[in-house]
């Protein structure tokens, strides 16, 4: 049966991208699969009785070692802030390439707690910091020191002991450039080293509470129950910094979405589905409802989405249980056609994620195709003609070409880099100043301008000639030729329109990270949880990939 990849004009709409959920393709799950046979070790743990000091954790295989160095520092209550503009944190971390020497640790002790104003070396791969969820952290320490386990209900409302506020990699602040390490097989999937850092940090938080409780009451204290630990993740506050990333990395975006679309197509093409596979699909589906019912958020926007997801999912389970026959040919194709007709985007994409669960053989080869070499597409093929470029625009950007930018509402916002923290921000161009320093993210507007200018040029003229007088459109011409080759490289929406929900862009990226329970705090930032339910480092070897549905809370 011939099944085509889904139409980018549907998949790449922001409302659809903002409905994506974690899947087997997600980076934190593929990270755990890749590192399951690595040797985990806590190499150093020198904390004082209050839990301040230094710790080192490592993963090792053959001659390759990655070490996380943690610095836990005292922080006054009024100094604790999750905003990216904070300058002090409860703990700071760097992932080091190899075994750090004493000199390395001393050097990093000076630099890592400073974060953005510190300097790292090419021996360091990722950098991060985190703050305690003080209420939960203190509750856990207090109970453990009294010989009791903490209140699970209380824990489930938060889901973590610490939350990170940024994780940096790829050459930031002197960290190693990607090209130095890109050929290592174990980090072939995207964001592997960022995932490793967060995973180590999670273990550090458990070790730290156990350590403090023990010192508080050496005779009575107990350690945090492993099943409770397993159901705690690492929180993360994520803001607009992530949103432009997906516009600025069109090749990477394409490779992520293409992997997902290829997976869906290949699953729809399966003629007969083994009972064990359909059973696993149904089991994951039912188990995952727990993740939805325990999804806490104050955001009305998100509450509506969760409710719609919950209703649709129940409708779907009813359909599967009552009316559906898995023994018929191409059952996943029938399912897909049914959900497209009967359910909302949020649930459609949820079920697409679930369909991947039984199929390691389809998913695993796709993981290695999710990294990208943006440089390969950098040079503009200037020998091509105006007619060819126009044709690509008409074919690949038809949705964007329909937007009328003479209307104020379609041109309402602009993206800029803030001076105080060098972070991306969005603002109203008619109310705030600074739009003359706009970042080149207004793709739909610039595509329209390009099309207009191309229409005034001779069709046979080559792009090098066109660029002589259209220098201001060079960045967009480059993108169009990327989109010609890569179908999912472009968000098919207006990211400067008045109705833009930046949260959709954040959710897209975070779903590929593999996070659960998006909790928007506004339309511009959200809290999430990573690794909740994941195996602990000592359990990695034999872990089941469906751990994500085992969460107790």
């Amino acid at each position: 049966m011939e099944i085509e990849l889904r139409n980018p004009n549907i998949v790449m709409k922001l409302s659809r991208l903002g409905s994506f959920h974690q899947s087997k393709l997600s980076f934190l799950r593929s990270f755990l699969r890749e590192f399951k046979n690595w040797e985990y070790k806590r190499d150093l743990f020198e904390l004082n009785e209050l839990g301040y000091g230094t710790a080192v954790y490592s993963m090792r295989k053959n001659s390759r070692v990655y070490s996380l160095i943690c610095f836990a520092n005292e922080l006054q209550e009024d100094e604790r802030s999750d905003r990216v503009i904070a300058t002090k944190w409860d703990a700071a971390f760097a992932l080091h390439d190899g075994v750090p020497s004493k000199q390395d640790i001393e050097r990093l002790r000076e630099q890592v707690p400073k974060q953005e104003v510190g300097r790292l070396s090419c021996k360091e791969l990722t950098l991060s910091r985190a703050n305690k969820s003080v209420r939960i952290f203190d509750h856990v320490v207090e109970n453990l020191s009294q010989g009791k386990q903490p209140d699970i209900e209380k824990l489930s409302k938060v889901g973590y002991l610490y939350r990170t506020t940024a994780v940096y990699g790829s050459g930031k602040f002197g960290l190693a450039d990607r090209f130095r390490i890109k050929n290592r097989k174990e980090i072939c999937g995207p964001f592997r080293l960022e995932m490793m850092l967060v995973y180590f940090v999670r273990q550090f938080t458990f070790d730290q509470v156990n350590h403090i409780a023990k010192h508080k009451n050496p005779k009575k204290a107990v350690t945090l129950d492993l099943s409770i630990s397993r159901n705690l993740g690492i929180g993360n506050s994520t803001g607009l910094g992530m949103a432009p990333f997906i516009v600025n990395h069109p090749v990477l975006l394409n490779n992520w979405i293409l992997a997902r679309e290829n997976a869906l197509r290949d699953i729809r093409k399966i003629k007969f589905v083994a009972t064990k596979d359909s059973d696993l699909f149904k089991t994951c589906l039912k188990k995952s409802i727990k993740n939805i019912t325990s999804w806490n958020t104050d955001s009305e926007f998100q509450k509506k989405k969760i409710q719609s997801l919950f209703n649709d999912l129940n409708k779907f389970i009813q359909f599967i249980e009552a009316d559906f026959d898995f023994s018929k040919e191409f059952p996943f194709n029938s399912i897909y056609l049914w959900i497209e007709k009967n359910l909302d985007e949020e649930c459609i994409e949820y079920i697409v994620s679930m369909m991947m669960e039984p199929y390691d053989d389809i998913i695993n080869p796709l993981i290695n195709q999710m990294s990208a070499e943006e440089e390969k597409y950098f040079n503009i093929p200037t020998h091509r003609t105006v007619a060819e470029l126009k044709e690509i625009l008409e074919k690949k950007y038809s949705e964007m070409l329909k937007i009328d930018f003479s209307q104020k509402k379609n041109n309402q916002k602009f993206w800029f880099i803030s001076k105080n923290k060098e972070e991306p921000r969005i603002s109203d161009r008619f109310k705030e100043s600074g739009s003359e320093l706009e970042q080149p993210l207004a793709i739909a507007r610039d595509v329209n301008k390009l099309y207009e200018n191309l229409s005034r040029s001779k069709n046979s003229s080559t792009i090098d000639k066109f660029l002589l007088n259209n220098d201001d459109l060079r960045h967009i011409v480059r993108r169009i030729f990327v989109a010609e080759k890569l179908p999912y490289s472009e968000i098919q929406d207006n990211v400067i329109g008045h109705s833009l929900m930046p949260i959709d862009m954040l959710r897209l990226k975070l779903s590929f990270f593999g996070v659960l329970k998006f909790d928007p705090k506004s339309d511009k930032w959200l809290r999430i949880n990573m690794f909740q339910g994941a195996p602990l480092p000592d359990e990695l070897k034999n872990h089941k990939d469906q751990w994500i549905y085992n969460s107790l809370n």
């Binding site: 450039d177 440089e375 040079n379 060079r474």
Partner: protein, 203 residues
């Protein structure tokens, strides 16, 4: 030490801040990264050129010919380089291209290096007495080994080198003969059972 990723980002933003379009600024970011990776003083030259632009104007060379001479001002290395890169396929049939008065020509060099990759030919760039052999954007050989800023190239010449071997046929044969010592003589029975053996090719 600054990472190449930091160098590229800062060079791109600085270029935009001095008035270049985003597209050109992207080219500059990529080029300065390239220069610094090859150990050439990209940041120093770019900084000084941007300083100079505050007080002095430069001419934008748009259409490249085999001989290019500015009317009154010096050529801007960035716009000249972009034009050269964009037009390289139509310049491929020329043997030599000459530019007079290019300001800060080290900033022009990465465009030539990238052009070498696009047309698949080595390009020889001579900036007055400084010589650079640019091989497919993979390698730069040069007699320029210091960290100086080159303020101007009075004459910049680009020679488009034909894809010729750097060795004679005799030298090749000598080495090939030696390589044959790793081969094993096939027996008749093996010859008779090798791929294609025993079939007619006239079917």
């Amino acid at each position: 030490m600054k990472s190449l990723s930091e160098i590229e980002t800062v060079a791109k933003r600085a270029s935009k801040a001095t008035g270049y379009s985003w597209g050109i600024s992207e080219e500059v970011g990529k080029n300065i990264r390239l220069l610094e990776m090859f150990g050439l003083p990209g940041i120093r030259n770019l900084n000084e050129y941007f300083d100079k632009r505050k007080e002095q104007k430069f001419e934008n060379l748009k259409l490249i010919k085999n001989e290019n001479k500015p009317t009154t001002l010096q050529y801007c290395p960035i716009i000249s380089g972009t034009s050269f890169l964009d037009q390289i396929k139509s310049l491929d049939n020329l043997k030599e291209i000459q530019f007079k008065e290019i300001a800060y020509p080290l900033l022009f060099l990465p465009f030539v290096s990238r052009a070498s990759e696009i047309i698949g030919k080595r390009l020889f760039l001579k900036l007055d007495n400084n010589e650079f052999l640019l091989s497919f954007n993979n390698n730069i050989c040069s007699n320029f080994i210091n960290d100086e800023i080159i303020k101007t190239a009075n004459i910049a010449t680009i020679r488009l080198l034909e894809n010729n071997d750097s060795f004679s046929e005799k030298e090749w044969n000598q080495l090939y003969k030696l390589s044959e010592d790793t081969f094993v003589e096939e027996s008749d029975s093996l010859k008779n059972t090798a791929a294609g053996a025993g079939l007619t090719d006239n079917d």
